[in-house]
Amino acid sequence: MAGKTLYDKLWESHVVREESDGTCLLYIDRHLMHEVTSAQAFEGMRLASRRAWRATSIVANPDHNTPTDHWDEGIKDPVSRLQVETLDANIKDFGALVYFPFKHANQGIIHVIGPENGTTLPGMTVVCGDSHTSTHGAFGALAHGIGTSEVEHVLATQTLVAKRSKRMLVRVEGQLGQEITAKDVALAIIGKIGTAGGTGYAIEFGGSAIRGLSLEGRMTLCNMAIEAGARAGLVAPDEKTAEYLRGRLYAPKGADWDKAVAYWNTLKSDHDAEFDAVVEFDAARIEPQVTWGTSPEQVLPIGARVPDPAKEADPQKRSGIERALQYMGLAAGTPLSGIKVDKVFIGSCTNSRIEDLRAAAAVARGRKKAAGVKLALVVPGSGIVKRQAEAEGLDKIFIAAGFEWREPGCSMCLAMNADRLEPGERCASTSNRNFEGRQGAGGRTHLVSPAMAAAAAVAGHFVDIRNSFGQESQA
């Protein structure tokens, strides 16, 4: 009999019961929450007079609606404020293991604070009413987004009704180039398999290039798994995972730590495990990526040109390209590296961790934001990231370069707070979605890595980081 994949091991260790058609009740270890998708679930709980099954599985904080500046003035938009205050009240009533209210020193994007407080651990099942819950798969946890009805279901029963996904292995072997980051790897994968390529699958990322990534990089990669259509991304835990977690607030301690690490070491796909699909990538061939359209799969290496719809044979795809180019205000054949940007956003649960800020700061150091760029926004993923960055002096580098250094939150990733694009504005963004209107109605988003975003802010247009701002060219 074939061995088991990591996904199988995680799944099987959480099945409470299984129906004959394969529908399972899956036990949930960690329930993450933010203000946007939880209110209706708590409303449902109250209506049915139910209590939380295990409130200490809950880690919560507001992030989508919180402003990133003038914290002293509170949340000005009354609708946003009501949503945040509703979460405050719900957590007060129902309880939680961790709750960081607005302005708490450790508050941040839920997918950043979960791991950094040691509340995401290998072998766990992690859910959140948020599609980017896939981020936590970087720790070898089975993590995925759920809808609000499911949030209520987990609150009330600590389980989820679910069926097994198919398993896909995305193997990236070899050495990544100097300036190539996990973001480029993620975009290159999506460019190849498409935004529906992973639908129905849980993707395990493997190969030497993945093992070479830091936990921050693995989080970026798993974060984007949902953009490839997969509900979950996974990376098998290793020494780096344990090193990252050691000493974190809620990580196991003492004898439990040793037991836990011994267990985590078993969490990998067996040599003879079979996957339903395998996709291979050569790390050395991955170049800095830039999206040109309105779907993450509409992506190309920085050296490429905006595609010509006339060359696309498939009529569905052709009209998709035409619509995207029209929305993006781009002409076929334009070199990506010449495209001017109006704003730059460095942040989001994809790229707002310390490593991302270091990469962006390395480019900004000693340089100035181009005059044509109206705003270059740097939004750390959490209070902890912010303090670490300030301890390293990164804030000063950004400010000296004319970038804005803000308070943590989701910010311009989806523009629910005041940070947004105006109609027609073009943005180099380190976030995960370039959908129409995502960063503000009429706004045009190009997804890139933090270093590429910082480079665009300095040059005023997209540039190949390897030519213009490589480590060698750094004074």
Binding site: V36, S131, G145, S149, V161, A196
Partner: protein, 215 residues
């Protein structure tokens, strides 16, 4: 949840692939803390010529005439005909809430995004996957015939066209049972509370660190 049996309804064709949940219900409407009232804002950016804000009275807003939902012949449609990868992007359940609140109870497409697909069942909407060729046929028939209706029978798992042609579709027995009976999934699961407790005790013994905070 309302029980779902049979729908004989008007079909509205939405002829674009990869319709994401931001398009179905734009983010500004996520600020609501209620479950209902999203129907008037369904496909807000595609449907109205002005920027939509929560709480707006939609009856006097300028419409985008070319958008299907605004065409008189599709008024009162209950069945949404769509293309590949419908419901991709954000996991917001506001998308099926808006679709249901508007009055759709069935969506037919060649493929759906995972989370959206699951969310439909939880809100009394039946998402039906049919082969691309079948969907293309329905689009063509719908365009050619004003007042085009389909008969969707969940019990026999069939979509039947006015000419009597029928397409079978898959649905898991569990989902079918819940939809047919309008059952609350939480109540069903709590019938197994004993098993959950027993599992939890074993899990705690094996990996105490997952529960350490309660010590």
């Amino acid at each position: 949840m309302k029980a779902f049996t049979q729908v004989k309804g008007l079909v509205c064709p939405l002829d674009r692939a990869n319709v994401d949940t931001d398009a179905i219900i734009p983010k500004q409407f996520l600020k609501s803390i209620k479950r209902s009232g999203f129907g008037p804002y369904l496909f807000d950016e595609l449907r109205y010529a002005d920027p939509g804000e929560p709480g707006m009275d939609c009856t006097s807003r300028p419409l985008r005439k070319d958008f299907v939902l605004n065409q008189a012949r599709y008024k009162g449609a209950q069945i949404l005909l769509a293309r590949d990868n419908f419901g991709c992007g954000s996991s917001r359940e506001h998308a099926p809430w808006a679709i249901e609140d508007y009055g759709f109870t069935v969506i037919i497409a060649p493929s759906f995004a995972d989370i959206f697909f699951g969310n439909c069942y939880k809100n009394g909407i039946l998402p039906i996957v049919l082969p691309s060729a079948a969907v293309a046929e329905l689009f063509a028939e719908c365009a050619a015939n004003e007042g085009y209706r389909l008969d969707v029978d969940l019990e026999s798992q069939k979509v039947i066209t006015p000419s009597g042609k029928s397409f079978g579709f898959d649905v898991t027995p569990h989902r079918k049972h819940c939809l047919l009976n309008g059952l609350d999934e939480i109540g069903l699961t709590l019938q197994h509370a004993g098993e959950i407790k027993a599992f939890e005790a074993r899990h705690r013994a094996a990996q105490p660190w997952l529960f350490a905070e309660e010590a």
